[in-house]
């Protein structure tokens, strides 16, 4: 049999396979070059970029929980200018699409970041993080209010001609309503899920473990929630979906495709194994070959219920 076709397309971005790296878990790519072949995955998503450099939260910022981890990095990043200056040149040398994860402290900042990245050739598209718990305007958190989400996406949409992917928060009552608002505002694709808000406590110290008190839960623990949301949204909304949450293996990734995702992102798994994303991509190809599936696209949404 011929090699199976693993390519997919998200919002006009062609990927050699459906495996991307999740924002915030893969630095700016270069950190992993020693451990894997960056040209064996579908795309690299950068750490979230803001208009200006951002300090992030105090430490401790991470803690392990059962089957997962909490992080409260607080979106520390070099800022969009430094990204263009210092990080983009390396990414240019790699033949893999780079998607910039962006966020702003206000509508205006979102728009400005998108505008600045619009003309950067290394950036194939933008993933708009509306799910950061600390970012709000007028008391409304963009990631949990459909109207606010609509507005962010609309502004970003106007600021760039590049593909706009919106990354949704799972901390909502109605994920479909959020997805619909983003679709209505012109999003080209949806990423889900970001982290679930959680907390860990140090009994002896009687303090929260994280300096920020709460943090975002990621890892295998959240996979069932992520799969459910991908499935719900994929049945209701016409946009391509990038499935994220607890993906450790090719089997996990393939389950997301069945649930309706066109691509996936590997996050926390990069910490357990810096070559995880490449292994997931290879595992998918292996599965297709083993099972005589010619094209990975046959699996997308192929869940029988």
């Amino acid at each position: 049999m011929n090699r199976p076709d693993t390519s997919v397309e998200i919002a006009g971005i062609k990927l050699r396979n459906p495996v991307m790296t999740a924002s915030g878990t893969f630095g700016y790519g270069q950190e992993f070059a020693e451990y894997m072949d960056l040209e064996k995955i579908g795309a690299i998503i950068t750490k979230g970029l803001s208009l200006r450099p951002k300090a992030g939260n105090r430490t401790p910022r991470i803690v392990e929980t059962k089957g997962g981890m909490l992080n409260a990095i607080g979106l520390q990043n070099v800022g969009v200018d430094a990204f263009i200056r210092e990080k983009a040149p390396y990414l240019r040398t790699i033949n893999t699409p780079v998607i910039a994860n962006i966020y702003g402290n206000s509508l205006d900042e979102y728009r400005q970041v998108a505008h600045l990245l619009d003309t950067v050739p290394e950036v194939a598209g933008m993933e708009v993080n509306i799910s950061c718990p600390n970012v709000k305007e007028g008391g409304i958190v963009f990631g949990t209010d459909p109207k606010a989400a609509f507005e962010v996406v609309r502004q970003v949409r106007e600021a760039t001609i590049k593909p706009v992917i919106v990354k949704l928060s799972p901390n909502v009552t109605d994920i479909v309503a959020m997805a619909r608002a983003c679709a209505d505002a012109g999003a080209d694709a949806l990423s889900l899920i970001n982290t679930l808000t959680g907390m860990a406590i140090d009994l002896q110290k009687r303090r929260p473990v994280l300096a920020n008190v709460t943090g975002g839960l990621s890892g295998p623990a959240i996979k069932p929630v992520a799969l459910r949301m991908v499935w719900q949204v994929s049945r209701a909304i016409e946009l391509p979906i990038i499935g994220i949450g607890g993906i450790m293996t090719a089997t996990d990734a393939l389950e997301f495709l069945l649930a309706g995702a066109t691509a996936v992102q590997v996050g926390t798994a990069n910490f357990l194994d810096p070559a995880a994303s490449q292994k997931v991509a290879e595992g998918i190809e292996h599965y297709l070959a083993e099972n005589g599936i010619a094209d990975v696209k046959e699996l997308i949404g192929a869940l029988r219920v």
Binding site: G24, K47, T59, F271, L272
Partner: protein, 271 residues
Amino acid sequence: MQFKSLVLSNTEVSPGYFRMRMTVPAQLSAARPGQFVMVRVRDAIDPLLRRPFGIYDVLILEPDFDGGSPQTCLDILYKVVGKGTETLSTMHHGDHLDVLAPLGNGFDLGKPGEEKILVGGGVGLAPLYFLAKELVKTDCVHLFVGGRTRDDILCITEFERLGIETYVSTDDGTLGEQGLVTEVLEKELTRRKGKASIFACGPHPMLKAVAALAERHGIPCQVSLEAYMACGVGACLGCVVPGKEHTEEAPDFRCVCKDGPVFDFQELQWK
């Protein structure tokens, strides 16, 4: 690099402290003192994350039969504190581990011929032995080591075998002087007022006190820090410490994993 290690031995050297020897690729013989490793304790989700450990020693074992090839090995010295180290402590010769190494930047060995003062608190001693082995080649080395009680003073005979003068202190006086390692260190520094540089590893309060001493006595001092780590390669930004000039507006965070774990104390903020 990432590789699979074979556990060669795993011995309890003091109650609750283990020394593990594992095979590593030959390239690891180029590891520098102060660098560390990230160990995946088990191919499972509990514990989930890798655990960081300093390099206690790197050595090359001669083959024990004709025609065999020498085997590079790496030792870690660790304290059982939680799930990860507990699991590690149950491993035997023949078990395998998934390891990232060498990570981070090591100690700057400084000028040869200078006097070198090593300061270790508890299991913070771990990276100092590998360092000491290098330093004794050219320098006069002193070791100050402290712990809560006698059982927390690890492996000093090995340092002594290198010909290093050791000063031991324990909080409860069960071994060496009673008191904090920094108190003993301070007395010695005051007595000497000589040219020396300090290499310290241990709990944060100890490092802070050592940094204050270095400041006061105007001598160079490098500290090896610990931090909660997820990735170990500078990607997650979980392990940061504020650099000297760090402010909210002009952030200057350093990654312990990538920019450290060894820092010149003057690079850092010690609030």
